[in-house]
């Protein structure tokens, strides 16, 4: 119609198939859902793609290090040591081993929320939803968990812990469920609603523990923090000193959740429904599966993972909630998106990519990075660069799909006999 316009004639005349369609387009995947695209990526690359993605990100970030006049290899070694991963080397002894253990315990503490917020994103992905609301769900969980642990001081420890963790998990589920409900009932896109719910959580949380807020510690009116949680709700530390932020049993809870995630998706009827809705909501509906119901459930379960992350952080090592955690530190939930993307929404993948990001964050922190190798004040940015590159490369699956499609088109064209080859000019 128009010149450069709606039907570029040099592209295969998609909207105009010959009405005597010679080859039924069986392999055409029309407008793939996110889950379908992801499945495609998994088939296309398997484990090689995420590893290549991570290596590429490290390589490019290495160039940045080089540009600042430092050695990339030495810097990465320093980050590796800063994360405490050298603890696994048997030849590290003495004081170095003590430091490594201490660093690794800190990395482990970061691993817990990263695994869980990663799962919060991954579970929704499997239902075809993009949960950006991990931060809000984490905040709602941490505020609820804190307050339940502050209240009920007379309860016995295990019961109190169970209560706080359950309340936080349900609060996260509720927060995620709101977005799921809105999607199911009104079609409001979960990306938009979860972002808005994040801000609501940030500011409600800030009000509750901020100056003059109902949950603020009244004994220190000048500090925006909550009261200290009950002593008997502190999670037991199994490695390191409880006073120096050793690794608590929340670590095993997170590992357990990886198993739960995998089992729910693969072995339960709920997971079957979630996955079928994620791949093809139309076929799921035709098979009698409630698409709306699954949208709600998937978002609620996602929120539960994030809410649990909040509870384990407060009961594990923070013990009191401050406004900085609500407003800034909660952004760790955003890293959960990168974790899920790089981990390809599998349990094992989520564990390893969470370990990668936890190590990066901890290894580049100003406390842990050897300042003679790379200035720690710059190193935090390095983490963000790598994280950003990972998201960028993972998000490039559209590009890969695109290239794939072109290849297929060319093959098809070759398969057609020459006389009927559409002439491609202009």
């Amino acid at each position: 119609m128009t010149d450069g316009g709606p039907i570029p004639p040099d592209i295969e005349p998609g909207p105009l198939p010959p009405d005597a369609e010679p080859v039924p387009p069986e392999d055409e995947e029309a407008a793939p859902t996110f889950a379908a695209r992801l499945a495609f990526m998994q088939r296309a690359g398997g484990i090689a793609v995420p590893i290549a993605t991570a290596l590429l990100a490290f390589a490019i970030a290495g160039l940045v290090v080089l540009a600042t006049g430092h050695s990339p290899l030495q810097t990465y070694k320093a980050i590796f040591d800063g994360a405490g991963l050298n603890w696994f080397f048997p030849w590290v002894h003495g004081a170095a081993r003590q430091t490594a253990a201490f660093n690794l315990q800190e990395t482990g503490l970061l691993l817990i929320p990263l695994i869980l917020t990663g799962l919060a994103v991954a579970f929704a992905f499997r239902c075809g939803l993009f949960n950006i609301g991990g931060q809000g769900q984490y905040i709602v969980g941490i505020v609820t968990g804190t307050q339940v642990a502050v209240w009920f001081q007379s309860l016995p420890g295990p019961v109190h812990i169970f209560l706080a963790v359950t309340a936080a998990t349900l609060a996260g589920a509720f927060w995620g469920g709101i977005a799921g409900f809105l999607r199911a009932a009104t079609g409001a896109h979960e990306v938009i609603s979860t972002i808005m719910l994040n801000w609501i959580a940030i500011w409600v949380g800030s009000y509750l523990i901020g100056f003059g807020g109902p949950f603020q510690d009244s004994s220190q009116p000048g500090v925006p923090v909550s009261r200290e949680i009950a002593q008997n709700t502190h999670l037991p530390v199994f490695w390191g000193s409880p006073l120096l932020q050793g690794l608590d049993i929340g670590f095993f809870v997170a590992l357990g959740m990886l198993v739960v995630y995998s089992v729910v998706l693969r072995r339960t009827t709920l997971g079957f429904e979630v996955r079928s809705v994620g791949f093809n909501p139309d076929a799921a509906r035709n098979a009698g599966i409630g698409v709306s119901r699954n949208y709600f459930l998937a978002m609620a379960i996602s929120g539960a993972f994030a809410g649990l992350a909040g509870a384990l952080d407060i009961l594990g090592w923070q013990f009191r909630l401050d406004v900085t955690t609500v407003q800034t530190a909660s952004q760790i939930a955003f890293t959960g998106i990168a974790v899920a993307l790089l981990g390809r929404n599998t349990a094992v993948g989520t564990f390893f990519s969470a370990l990668l990001f936890a190590s990066l964050i901890n290894g580049t922190s100003s406390r842990n990075l050897d300042p003679s190798v790379f200035p720690p004040e710059l190193a935090g940015n390095l983490t963000r660069i790598i994280q950003g590159l990972v998201v960028l490369f993972v998000g490039a699956d559209v590009l890969v799909l695109y290239i794939w499609n072109i290849r297929r088109k060319i093959r098809r064209r070759r398969a057609a006999p020459p006389p009927s080859t559409p002439v491609l000019t202009e």
Partner: protein
């Protein structure tokens, strides 16, 4: 008209696709100020011919003469420059832009070198709308106007680029009857202004109403070109459908029992909230196949969706074995024993990224023995899948193979296996053999007859008359959302074709038993 050089002449156009002769030395000509209809069934080669004319395909043989001059287009752009405009079934408009902006897009009037002359554009478009009686506000946003008006914007786009030859591809398929008659008014105005029009359709009444001449295509060949004055629907239907020998399915006479599916005065709307089902009533009894014949878009989709619970009817009732199931939703209907072989197997029938085992378990996953208390039992799911794959002769993979890896015929077998193995009481089969090869078609047909013989009620919806006639024990014809007649399976294709296109004869309608 006769003495002048034709605006367009196609001589001996032949186009082959792998395995298909889409156009077989087609001759076609168009006079100035003429509406020439191109009539034929789906797959007769109409669109291929028009895509050749529009520069999207190259003919293997034959030539195109425009105003007596030989031309050869290698792209749509060249065809447009030569004065050919095409209005596709699916519009290519930008919804957030105004009518005028859409019309001038690509050839915008410019002021002072770079600035879009909006007022100029509006005025030119308004003038054009007035000349041709388009009744479209140039400043309205395209997303706010009706489909009929959007189609007019497409026509205006072509006219704005000085087209004097318009191709309309099934223009009424998306229109309401009122919009269609408005369109015809516009086409008559265009004809008076000397525009030549090719009107593609498979609806006989429309063609007779609007066209000056009619060319009938069947299987890529021109059957005849006749002036519409003096042509009859019956004669056109015969030319369009032909008299091919039928491949008959082996089956015994039916022994219908109790009605298992009852539809009572069903009304339903499509997604545009147009009433597509206008009071449909019929029964399907145990042990019979009832064929529903009709031209695409006469309410079949809405009827199927209403029966299987995908669409909430706005009136009427659906009963399965004397129990009302109207608006019960798909899960309830599956439990009531309604099986559904959907028209679009890749969209509705299968989860392509699931394995065959998962696809075969898509209904049964929530019940024993596939699952217990919400836990899937993979070993049983796999065992059942293996059994069904053997029983239904699904080839190209095992239980763990992804459905997308299978050929169309085998994908359809997966759907058929799942639906039939659920032992439904009522089986709704929509276009069950679309896109399948001969062997798979025969297989699906045999299974449907077998289901009938086992006392199931089978409703077969198809656009293929041959399929309907060879399988059905009774044939219902749907036209514009109503059942317009009931026929025996012996009824000729011509007669059915006539009823399907709205030309019914009251005396041929049997009274339902």
């Amino acid at each position: 008209m006769e003495d002048a050089t034709p605006v367009l002449e196609l001589r001996g156009i032949t186009k082959r696709f792998p395995g298909v002769l889409a156009n077989d030395s087609v001759d076609f000509d168009l006079q100035r100020g003429e509406i020439h209809a191109l009539l034929g069934e789906n797959g007769a080669g109409k669109s291929t011919l028009m895509n050749i004319l529009y520069g999207l395909y190259r003919p293997d043989e034959g030539e195109i003469l425009l105003q007596g001059r030989r031309v050869s287009f290698s792209s749509a752009k060249e065809a447009i420059e030569a004065g050919i405009g095409m209005v596709h079934q699916h519009f290519m408009l930008i919804p957030v832009m105004t009518v005028a902006e859409n019309v001038v897009l690509g050839t915008e009037p410019v002021r002072g070198g770079i600035f879009l002359d909006e007022r100029g554009a509006d005025k030119r478009v308004a003038d054009m709308a007035k000349t041709f009686n388009f009744a479209v506000d140039p400043e309205a946003l395209v997303e706010d106007i009706s489909v009929g008006q959007q189609q007019r914007v497409e026509i205006m786009k072509a006219l704005y680029r000085d087209a004097d030859l318009l191709i309309l591809d099934e223009p009424t398929a998306v229109l309401t009857p009122q919009e269609a008659s408005d369109l015809f008014e516009i086409l008559r105005t265009l004809r008076r202004e000397g525009i030549s029009i090719i009107f593609i359709s498979h609806k006989l009444n429309e063609v007779l109403e609007i066209a000056d001449r009619i060319t009938v295509l069947r299987r890529g060949k021109v059957v005849e070109t006749v002036p519409s004055a003096g042509a009859t629907q019956k004669a056109l239907a015969r030319a369009m459908v032909g008299r091919e020998v039928l491949l008959r399915v082996e089956k015994r006479p039916s022994a219908p029992g109790e009605p298992l599916l009852e539809i009572q005065d069903l009304h339903a709307e499509d997604d545009r909230e147009l009433e597509r089902l206008r009071g449909v009533s019929f029964n399907v009894c145990a042990g019979e196949i009832v064929g529903l014949a009709g031209v695409d878009g006469n309410g079949q989709t809405e009827l199927i969706e209403a029966i299987v619970g995908l669409r909430r009817p706005i009136g009427g009732r659906v009963l399965v074995a004397d129990r009302e199931v109207t608006s019960d939703g798909t899960r309830k209907l599956i439990d009531e024993g309604v099986g559904h072989i959907p028209e679009d197997r890749q969209k509705l029938g299968l989860v392509l990224d699931f394995s065959l085992a998962e696809n075969l378990a898509l209904h049964a996953y929530r019940k024993r023995p596939e699952s217990r208390f919400g836990w899937l039992l993979p070993r049983r799911i796999l065992a059942r899948a293996r059994k069904l794959i053997r029983e239904f002769d699904i080839r190209g993979g095992g239980p763990q193979t992804r459905a997308a890896a299978l050929s169309g015929g085998n994908q359809q077998k997966v759907v058929v296996a799942r639906e039939i193995s659920a032992e439904p009481r009522v089986l709704v089969a929509a276009q069950p053999t679309r896109g399948l090869d001969v062997g798979a078609i025969e297989y699906v047909h045999r299974r449907l007859v077998q289901e009938r013989d086992e006392g199931k009620a089978v409703l077969l919806v198809s656009l293929e008359l041959e399929e309907i006639r060879s399988l059905s024990d009774r044939i219902l014809v749907i036209y514009e959302g109503r059942i317009v007649g009931e026929y025996s399976s012996e009824t000729s294709e011509e007669e059915l074709g006539l009823a399907m296109t709205g030309g019914r004869h009251a005396e041929e309608t049997e009274v339902p038993a």
